[in-house]
Amino acid sequence: MTARLYRAGGFVADEWTHLDDEAELPAQGAFVVPLARFLEQAADLPQGLRLAPLVKAGDDPASLAGHLAALELVVVDFAKFSDGRGYSTARLLRQRYGFAGEVRASGDVLLDQIPLMRRVGFDAFAVVNEPTIRALEAGHDVDVPLYLQPAERAGEVPAGARSWARRPADAQLS
């Protein structure tokens, strides 16, 4: 099953190809490789070859700190949707390391987790699950658009007196 890539506004073509540890690296193109391989090869990339790391649950995003300024994309893998480590990974990338590129969730990405993922800093979702794809295509929104913690999504604004409350910039609390 191939994943379909969703960004705000709809499904888009994915210019990145996943390569595992064994597959030979082509001379040019855009490839997502496991974090360890990325760290080995990121230093001297030939012209025309773009790499992005695949960060798995348990991988430490701190190892990417020195690379993030030059990176376009970090993919955070969810082997199981119920393993929440990826949420902290994404949040650290945004909050601690100031990463401004795309943070993409891949793996077991499901409709009901996407609102939470957005808030910790994910802005792209590689979706395999068929009902999730259908719901996203239909614009089916499952967010509770009022938040009780500051988080990482751009555009959220304070809501009311509480210093910890937020709402999306485009939503009116009527």
């Binding site: 949420y87 509770v144 988080a151 210093s163 910890w164």
Partner: protein, 552 residues
């Protein structure tokens, strides 16, 4: 108490809509049971032995009459006419239908209630001292902080898929009635020499199959840092807590395996990164939330004591009730009242819809419209005038709620056990009922004095048996129920985990065994004031072993 503003009301109703949609997608087959499970759990819906169970949050155990009446309505309309109050100050309904649950949640939202995060691998309902804002020994009311934590932890985007459940308890008194040291985070509010508010912070307490007492990680956390420090603890736990074995996934195991000093350093390092940031609590906001919990305007209650004394002199039942179920209050002439949900021979923690309504009426008429749920599965009227106690007692007696056994041998905590629970390996409620019947005599109970018996129907320890003065754990052995007895546990400021006394007893034998333990204690105590725990800590387990198993 806290009142929802427009934001909170929208938040809770949007959450109900979200769950209604999730239930529809589950019924349509778009969500598998595996995918649906954490979603329903985070809305309080369990699948039990016979039916779905709905656990409704009663944040830090505080509710008003209107909310209690709504719970009675839910019991009557969607359940079998009763509800079950739990050790985490919540209420459970055991017989709702899945398709009705979104409607139940919407009716709860109308009275500012919800079932958010009463289950699941997330931050659970925050609990607090049931005498908060009333107790004579309180330093400050912990509920504003519990409310701030409740808000911050609701639908937290980073911490909704933790390795395992995560429980926080807060107390504001030196005598700990909230069992903070057996929580993942336990907070004890204190003031420093200059009067500033802060918290002693314990991490890694918990019961279950590996009971552990929480470890002190901060002697004084300034109140402004409450959320930032909590976020630091949760982030360390979310990243490093074990996920390979659900029985080793609580933060207590992380503390144990990492070592306290290293884990403390991890938490402090994380905290250093985020402190003085957006999570710092402005003093103005703490004040604003605290104002919701301002004490009611207490009367100058002159002469109350004489009225109560006169009534007590004329009514031995009232005397017994006043001796056990009336607790010191900070305002002169006032008291907090325990309404026991442990009538002799009944299931601990159960209340009928009619009983809930009686309590609601009494709270409105005599109690400044406040009710509490205690983690000991009783109800509390925190603020009543002492002269009103006779009238309240009479009304409670009529409703079967006047059992004068608060803190006595029949005030037993028990989990639902094999009668309801899919995890249980043995019955607990019938064991509680039989012990209660054995010690039914009020004179005998009063002679025995303070004694906490706690019963769990499986190793998960929902009945807190590890911290019972006498703990009972039901296990299954070759198809038979067996009950292991532990002695010397406690969940107060001197928390300890009970020790197993020896081989277990069958369902038929266990009540006799408990009676032997109690009689042994009564026989060896130095004075009637030496309670079970003190006596046990003085003499050790030998006399109890001899009584139970003989000297051989």
């Amino acid at each position: 108490m806290y009142r929802y503003d427009e934001f909170d009301a929208h938040f809770v109703s949007a959450r109900v809509d979200q769950f209604r949609d999730q239930v529809q997608r589950r019924l349509a087959g778009d969500l598998t049971e595996d995918q649906f499970k954490p979603l329903r759990l985070m809305n309080g819906v369990y699948l039990q032995l016979h039916a779905y169970m709905l656990r409704i949050a009663i944040p830090y155990g505080t509710l008003n009459a209107r909310q209690m009446r709504r719970l009675a309505h839910v019991a009557r309309t969607y359940d079998r006419g009763y509800g079950h109050f739990t050790t985490r100050q919540n209420i459970q309904f055991n017989w709702p239908r899945l398709k009705d649950i979104p409607d139940i949640l919407s009716q709860l939202a109308e009275v500012e209630m919800h079932a958010i995060q009463t289950s699941g691998n997330c931050i659970r309902n925050v609990t607090a001292d049931h005498f908060s804002g009333a107790a004579a020994d309180e330093i400050l009311d912990p509920r504003p902080y519990a409310e701030i934590l409740r808000q911050w932890s609701s639908l937290h985007p980073e911490f909704s898929y933790l390795p395992r459940k995560f429980k926080i308890a807060v107390t504001g008194a030196p005598h700990d009635r909230a069992a903070v040291q057996v929580h993942d985070i336990g907070l004890q509010a204190v003031r420093d020499a200059d009067g500033n508010v802060g918290f002693r912070v314990f991490v890694g307490g918990g019961l279950g199959r590996t009971p552990m007492v929480g470890r002190l990680v901060r002697e004084f956390l300034p109140e402004a840092d409450l959320l930032a420090y909590s976020e630091a603890i949760l982030r360390v736990y979310n990243r490093y807590g074990r996920r390979d074995n659900k029985y080793k996934a609580r933060i207590k195991i992380l503390v144990h395996e990492t070592g306290l000093e290293e884990l403390k350093a991890d938490i402090e390092a994380e905290f250093a990164e985020i402190r003085d940031g957006v999570l710092t609590l402005p003093a103005s906001e703490i004040e604003r939330i605290t104002a919701y919990f301002a004490p009611p305007a207490f009367d100058v209650a002159v002469g109350d004591e004489a009225v109560l004394e006169a009534a007590i002199a004329a009514d031995p039942q009232l005397e017994a009730f006043a001796a056990r179920n009336v607790h010191p209050h900070r305002a002169p002439g006032y008291a907090s009242l325990t309404i026991s949900l442990k009538p002799i021979g009944k299931a601990p923690g159960d209340a009928t819809a009619e009983q809930m309504e009686v309590v609601a009426d009494l709270a409105e008429r005599y109690g400044h419209d406040e009710i509490r749920v205690s983690h000991e599965q009783n109800l509390v009227l925190p603020h009543v005038r002492r002269r009103d106690i006779p009238a309240i007692h009479a009304a409670l007696a009529e409703a079967g709620l006047a059992e004068a056994n608060a803190g006595l041998v029949t005030d037993i905590i028990a989990c639902p056990g094999l009668d309801y629970c899919a995890l249980a390996t043995a019955r607990s409620i019938p064991v509680a009922q039989r012990i209660s019947e054995r010690f039914a005599s009020p004179e005998r109970q009063r002679e025995i004095g303070d004694l906490k018996i706690k019963i769990s129907g499986c190793i998960n320890a929902c009945g807190h048996h590890h911290v019972g003065h006498i703990g009972i754990l039901g296990v299954e052995k070759k198809g038979e129920e067996y009950y292991q007895i532990t002695l010397g546990g406690s969940a107060d400021e001197n928390t300890s985990v009970g020790e197993i006394i020896g081989r277990g007893f069958s369902y038929d034998e266990v009540v006799d065994a408990i009676e032997k333990v109690v009689d042994t204690y009564v026989g060896l105590r130095e004075t009637p004031q030496e309670d079970f725990l003190a006596a046990y800590r003085r003499v050790g387990d030998q006399p109890f072993k001899e009584a139970l198993y003989g000297t051989a």
